[in-house]
């Protein structure tokens, strides 16, 4: 212990502190330089198109290239640098692959940026660990109008958990889409909940997403056959169609020697179906459905029908593999496609061992929203990017096919649903799109508040004590409330 005084404070805490300082450097330079190690990777570029893009790199960084603009039509007089704030390379890859006219600086690494016509695209990647990404936004966005032209943030990305914080009308750091010239008509094919997430108190929409991550119950077909006698989708859905039925099934699952899922899996489902926001009139309110989660889960955990493993822990992800007792997970398409180790021998998914049904209540999980930063000097280009990347049918279709994203476009999803080619091998050939589309219609996100992220996290943390038998419900609730006071000093708890 001894020596730690000065130095060892370290890790996790970093986040919280990043606060005022992140301001300085991060806004601009970080990822855009085609730096270091990756230099070698350019040589392995496979297609001729990409190798020519590589040559552009040098020109891009000196911003002297003068090629004809392709997509930013009326952008004369606008900025020469498009700065994009993000926490990983997801959007960079989508933009590089699907936005017409984007020339990547490094075909192997989209976060190195590139060019759209005359405009240099720069990505600033700040990891979301320890809240670093938000701390960075908190510093750059409010001062964006005063930043020098090349440093102005033009686009930033947000997740649903904290979207409201940045699309807040008072904070006014994200532009109204209507001010960019994007109409309700443009967004008509998007699912309502994806618009709710970025709608401010005055009803103005301030962001747009290309994903609709509606989710459902992913069950292990083998276990379903043993417990329910069938893995037929309708029959399984019938067995989990309400929380009462779900709990009955959990008992059967347990009696057969298996476990239903983790109590932490079901939280999102309950919390997506609340009757009011977390904070009302400045006071924390625990919704009935949230309470129901705590009570149902406690009963299930005590009966050994559910476990209380935290998401992404080793114990939790065990169930991705065969010969483990986990009956189901709750998740969207991306969980199935990318996180269940389905390319691995011995995984349930490798042999198409999963089935996908709606479950007791509709919910969603994940998704990235694009916001235009107030103060941007590239409004025309930003508008075009938002329109192309989130509303263009052709681009949406491409993204759905190439990247397996569940796209935010009713027309495209419905087309995929009726196309047999889109059966998913991990799901034993099941085509999930009809269900995903119907699910996305049902998700209701009108009850979100800027306090959601903290409240949801702290409530689960506190209730884990209740499930593990370390506290009564009231004690766990009291701990939740003190945690909320620490996180949100302006919210009252009693």
């Amino acid at each position: 212990m001894k020596k730690r005084m000065k130095t060892l404070l370290s890790l996790a805490m970093a986040a919280a502190l990043v606060v005022p300082m992140a301001a300085c450097g991060s806004g601009t330079t970080a990822s855009s330089k085609s730096a270091s190690a990756s230099g070698s990777s350019a040589s392995s570029a496979s297609t001729s198109a990409s190798s020519s893009a590589t040559e552009e790199t040098t020109a891009a960084s000196s911003s002297s290239a003068t090629e004809a603009a392709s997509s930013a039509e009326d952008a004369s007089g606008e900025g020469t640098v498009l700065n994009i704030q993000c926490w990983n390379d997801e959007f960079a890859n989508r933009l590089a692959a699907h936005y017409p006219g984007f020339e990547a600086a490094d075909p192997k690494d989209a976060t190195k940026g590139g060019k759209i016509g005359d405009v240099t695209v720069k990505f600033t990647v700040t990891p979301s660990d320890d809240n670093a990404y938000q701390n960075n936004l908190d510093t750059v966005l409010p001062e964006n109008a005063d930043a020098s032209a090349d440093k102005k943030v033009d686009i930033f990305l947000v997740e649903a958990d904290y979207a409201l914080k940045y699309i807040d009308a008072d904070a006014n750091v994200a532009m109204k889409l209507s001010d960019l010239g994007i109409t309700d008509d443009d967004l008509s094919k998007q699912y309502q909940y994806t618009k709710d997430v970025v709608t401010d108190a005055n009803g103005d929409i301030r962001g747009s997403s290309w994903q609709a991550c509606s989710a459902g119950l992913i069950f292990n077909r083998d276990i379903a056959k043993k417990v329910l006698g069938t893995d037929d989708l309708d029959a399984v859905q019938d067995a989990v169609s309400s929380w009462d039925k779900f709990n009955e099934t959990a008992k059967k699952v347990k009696d057969a020697g298996y476990q239903m899922c983790s109590a932490m899996d079901t939280y999102r489902v309950y919390s997506n179906n609340v009757s009011g926001p977390w904070v009302q009139d400045g006071k924390v309110v625990v919704d009935d459905n949230i309470k129901a989660w705590a009570e149902d889960s406690k009963a299930l955990v005590d009966a050994g029908e559910e476990n209380s493993y935290e998401l992404w822990s080793d114990d939790w992800s065990k169930g991705f593999f065969k010969d483990t007792p986990v009956f189901c997970y709750f998740g969207p398409a991306w969980l199935i496609n990318f996180s269940m180790h389905s390319d691995e021998d011995g995984s349930v998914g490798k042999d198409g061992g999963w089935g996908f049904v709606t479950g007791p209540q509709g919910f969603y999980w994940g998704g990235t929203w694009i916001c235009a930063a107030n103060g941007t000097d590239n409004p025309t280009l930003v508008k075009d990017i938002i329109l192309n990347m989130t509303t263009n049918d052709d681009v949406m279709k491409e993204i759905a096919v190439d990247d397996s994203d569940c796209v935010n476009n009713k027309t495209v999803l419905d087309a995929l649903a009726s196309d047999e080619k889109f059966g998913n091998p991990i799901l034993g050939g099941q085509n999930p799109y009809a269900m995903l589309s119907a699910g996305a219609e049902k998700v209701d996100m009108s009850n979100i508040s800027i306090y959601d992220q903290g409240c949801n996290e702290e409530f689960q943390t506190a209730m884990k004590n209740y499930f593990d038998g370390n506290a009564s419900y009231d004690d766990a609730l009291a701990q939740f409330k003190s945690a909320i006071q620490e996180k949100y000093p302006d919210v009252s708890v009693d």
């Binding site: 005084m5 370290s10 450097g25 190690a37 990756s38 997801e90 979301s128 990318f338």
Partner: protein, 289 residues
Amino acid sequence: MAAVQANEEKTAKGTVRGRRIFSYIILIFLTFLCLIWFYILFINTTRSNGELGKGFTPIPSSHLIENLSNMLHGSLPFVRGMLNSLIIAGLSAFFSTYFSTMTAYAIHAYDFKGKKAIYTFILAIMMIPTQVSALGFVQLVSKMNLMDHYLPLVVPAVASPVVFFYMKQYMDSNLPGSLLEAARIDGAGEFRIFNTIVMPLMKPAIAVQAIFTFVNSWNNYFTPALILHKETMKTLPVLIAELRSADWLKFDMGQVYASITFSIFPVIFVYLFLSKYIVGGVTAGGVKG
């Protein structure tokens, strides 16, 4: 052990053997506790992301080279990061040991007004938790325009109260005043005495604190994460944190473990190099004869 010691005087030879066996058992147990982590780390570095998802096994897999090359050829500049880490940790170790020894020497060897007060004051500084001043520190660095710069990570090492305190304590037991007086009589200047007589005498203490400072600085995520935002300036712990927050599409625990292994090697070498001043010395003092 108490029982063993009770008999000690009667059967001296027998008990020495008993104590020796006891010591070996404890030492071997501790060695196991200390090394097992490196073994697990190595095992995990040889496994792919999917294999890691299955939970721990004690048998290495075949993805070692793949993980390392994915990490080195990925989008994060790990080689550059290692260089940054080496520069920062190396300079920190040098600054903190040299200047803290100098400060301790000032208190130890001279008499001047306010000496007691300054000594107490420095000890008081030691009690300030780093977290306390961290916010203010970063605001200050930002105002001084030193963001994305090595200086704010290196220069503060000059004022390391902990290192100072150790040096002072070490001088109390190991640096007799008579020696210095002899040097003065020979006409040596004060700086020369410090650099040519005091510093060499302090070698073991310097080696110890150089190791500690180096390791702490090497593994420090906290301050560098606040100060360094340019990809090419970042140190290894910051890059590892970035790798760990990759999205679910790219997330690869195999690479994370590879990066941890990669970042441990240099510090082991530095440790082995510096530790010979301590380890070797004790051996000579304690065992000979």
